[in-house]
């Protein structure tokens, strides 16, 4: 599904990614963990070219992202992304946030788009918030709307960039429940997270990044029980 080869990213002299290679299978749920500054978010953001890689190749379903001829806008329509700070469109109601791209990009009629919007709001438990503006929502509700907004485009891959880091503790649960629910549907997902318990329960694979390198890649049980590298062991010691 996703093939990454020797991915590097530098900002001036700062080398953030120092050559990451990996393969993500269809339906695989990957939790990306690691200390801050390890390049987790940059790696994720390279996968839909919000960051343009400095070197290496990214191939998704046989399409090379880094090829200048690739229509990146079309690829992005197949990859959903959820941000730490939600980034809902503040001047649109919840329903308009969900239906905007459906109508303007996918060309759905207003009725079709709204029907889909309601379905998704129901799925994230926010059907009654369809006509309010984002400013009236709590953080957890905003993030659930943001997830629904991404799902509206029927993505094949979902990227989560620290989806619960900006939330009050009591709201983390409701968002994780939605993501966990999504993982069970067979969606291919990459999640940058600090929620170790969640990573352990929901992920098929753990990526441990440190210093711009993919230091360890393992099943959750094995990773959390017997980390192979010293760096991973030290990290787990600190966070658990």
């Amino acid at each position: 599904m996703i093939n990454v080869e020797a991915l590097t990213k530098t900002y001036g002299k700062l080398e953030v990614l120092k050559g990451i290679s990996t393969t993500v299978e269809q339906g695989e749920v990957v939790a990306i963990i690691g200390p801050s500054g390890s390049g987790k978010s940059t790696f994720l953001r390279c996968l839909n070219l919000l960051e343009v890689p400095t070197g290496g190749r990214i191939v998704i379903d046989g399409v090379e992202l880094t090829d200048p001829k690739t229509d990146i806008t079309r690829i992005r329509q197949r990859i959903g992304m959820v941000f730490q700070h939600f980034h809902l469109f503040p001047h649109m109601t919840v329903m308009d946030n969900l239906t905007f791209a459906l109508m303007r990009v996918k060309g759905l009629s207003k009725e079709e788009a709204r029907a889909k919007g309601y379905m998704l709001l129901e799925r994230v438990g926010l059907k009654d918030k369809a006509d309010v503006y984002p400013s009236k929502l709590s953080g957890g509700q905003k993030q659930r709307v943001a997830i629904a907004r991404s799902l509206a485009m029927d993505p094949e891959i979902m990227l989560f960039d620290e989806p619960t880091s900006a939330l009050d503790p009591e709201m983390v649960k409701e968002v994780l429940a939605v993501i966990r629910d999504l993982a069970s549907t067979g969606m291919t997902m990459l999640i940058v997270t600090h929620e170790m318990k969640f990573a352990r329960e929901a992920a098929d694979t753990i990526y441990f990044l440190d210093g711009g390198l993919l230091v360890e890649k393992a099943e959750p049980e094995r990773f959390f029980a017997r980390p192979q590298s010293e760096r991973a062991a030290r990290f787990l010691e600190q966070v658990l």
Partner: protein, 488 residues
């Protein structure tokens, strides 16, 4: 979303109707065509010089006067349709040269200086210059004016009367009413104006006095001006000769000098007299419409073009960035008045298109305003959270749609107060357009000043209208802002 679509549709319809309205307004002033029998010929005149030409503001707003009657008679005899285009006096020669008008009759003396740029007909009237001063001084000759401060109308023949005078301080103003007001305010000691004008003002202002200047000084008479080499010159001269011999010319002159319509007894030399403005209310209101229409067109154009320029400025394409930077620097770095005059007079010469005054003004103001707005809008765009852009990109929304529907609406909300400032500035600066004879509010106020010999009242009335317009504009903006803030 349907709602938004409907709203957009309504907005575009309203725009379309207004633009069509503008087009009609522009189209009223047809271009000066090559003369020929049955065709329309355009006469340029500065209608602030009763009784030669003035606006019958209390009537239909038409330009009337001695010159107009003569022109009508000649056009009739030659089988032309006559159209009259009002303009500032100092713009008349340029209008001839750029072929906006076929001929000029505006109490214009046939001076040697002017003969270098235009052809003149035979002289049809010999005006005499006078010295107007306060009653208590009553200067009677040019010798008495030695060492005094003298005022003349800018671009008039009186300029040459005073040109050779030594030890005097000359003030040149473009409007006669301002000269008279300067006299009363003791900014000048005497004004040199023509007999008919002097008689008009002295008739309504008891504290003024005028004396004829002996005729050998500045003896040129009034003549009709044509572009160099115009075939009309000979045709007009033929009719003028007939008019002189059969007495028609004298009859017209007697008609306009015999009845002094406006010369009311000067009871109201002190205090303000708004009563006399009453007949002009409709005339002034039509100027309000012109001002509003013009402000709307230039604000709309300036905003759209400014938004495009701001996108250039944040674009990845270097030439677009350079273009918009240079554009802004040029349009901000030169006076608006200069841009206006250049567009109005240069476009016909460079492109052979006689650009209508209102269109030229809308263009100049729009282009200028866009330079300022592009910076404001750019700031507004940069102030929108970067995450908005990333969220839109991640959804696969194309750049243009993202800018139009996600980024700009938020940017505009942020800069709404600055946009309102710009609109208010445009509304007030719109008074500059009177220099190219767009009959806006302030232009009409000056016309009324010339007609009524009232110095302040028309200005105060126009000021009040401007103020009310700004009040309405700002309260509309407040409504809009409240509406945009409902998502907060």
């Amino acid at each position: 979303m349907r709602n938004q679509f409907a709203r957009r549709l309504i907005v575009s319809l309203v725009c379309a109707v207004l633009l069509a309205g503008c087009w009609l307004a522009f189209a009223e002033r047809t271009e000066a065509a090559e003369p020929g029998p049955g065709k329309t010929i355009v006469m340029g005149t500065s209608p602030d010089y009763p009784p030669y030409e003035s606006v019958d503001a209390a009537g239909g707003g038409e330009i009337v006067g001695l010159d107009i009657d003569i022109a009508k008679h000649i056009a009739d005899k030659l089988g032309y349709k006559l159209q009259i285009a009002g303009s500032d006096f100092d713009g008349l020669i340029a209008a001839l040269q750029s072929r906006r008008v076929d001929f000029v009759m505006s109490g214009m003396s046939a001076t040697e200086e002017r003969r270098k740029s235009v052809d003149f007909s035979d002289i049809y009237y010999n005006a005499r210059n006078t010295i107007v001063s306060l009653e208590k001084f009553s200067y009677a000759s040019l010798d008495e004016l030695k060492g005094k401060r003298i005022g003349v109308q800018l671009g008039s023949t009186q300029e040459s009367v005073v040109a050779d005078m030594k030890d005097t301080q000359i003030t040149k103003l473009s409007k006669i009413p301002d000269l008279m007001q300067s006299l009363k305010a003791d900014r000048i000691d005497a004004a040199i104006v023509e007999d008919a004008v002097a008689a008009g003002y002295v008739g309504t202002n008891a504290d003024l006095h005028f004396e004829m200047i002996p005729a050998e000084v500045g003896g040129e008479g009034y003549a009709i001006a044509f572009p160099k080499g115009s075939p009309l010159t000979a045709e007009f001269n033929g009719v003028l000769r007939d008019m002189k011999s059969d007495g028609t010319l004298q009859a017209i002159i007697d008609k306009w000098f015999g009845t002094e319509k406006d010369a009311e007894p000067s009871a109201a030399t002190s205090g303000l007299n708004f009563k006399r403005l009453e007949p002009y209310a409709g005339y002034l209101l039509r100027g309000t419409y012109v001002t509003l229409l013009f402000t709307f067109v230039s604000a709309l154009f300036g905003f759209v073009w400014g938004a495009i320029l701001s996108l250039f400025k944040i674009s990845n394409v270097a030439p677009l960035r350079w273009f918009s930077t240079v554009y802004t620097s040029v349009f901000r770095g030169t006076p608006l008045l200069l841009q206006l005059l250049l567009i109005y007079y240069a476009v016909p010469q460079l492109f052979g298109y006689t650009i209508p005054a209102l269109l030229a003004a809308g263009l100049a103001f729009g282009l200028n305003s866009a330079a300022y707005l592009s910076e404001t809008i750019r700031g507004g765009i940069l102030a929108v959270d970067k995450g908005q852009r990333e969220a839109a990109l991640a959804l696969g929304i194309p750049y243009r749609t993202m800018m139009a529907s996600i980024i700009l609406p938020q940017a505009i909300k942020n800069i709404l107060p600055a946009l309102v400032n710009e609109c208010v500035a445009l509304l007030k600066e719109s008074s500059l357009v009177s220099v190219i004879a767009v009959a806006d509010l302030l232009f009409r106020a000056s016309v009324i000043r010339a007609n009524t010999f009232l110095a302040f009242e028309p200005l105060i009335a126009a000021g009040a209208i401007y103020y009310v317009l700004v009040l309405i504009l700002t309260s509309l903006a407040r409504l809009l802002e409240r509406r945009m803030r409902r998502s907060d």
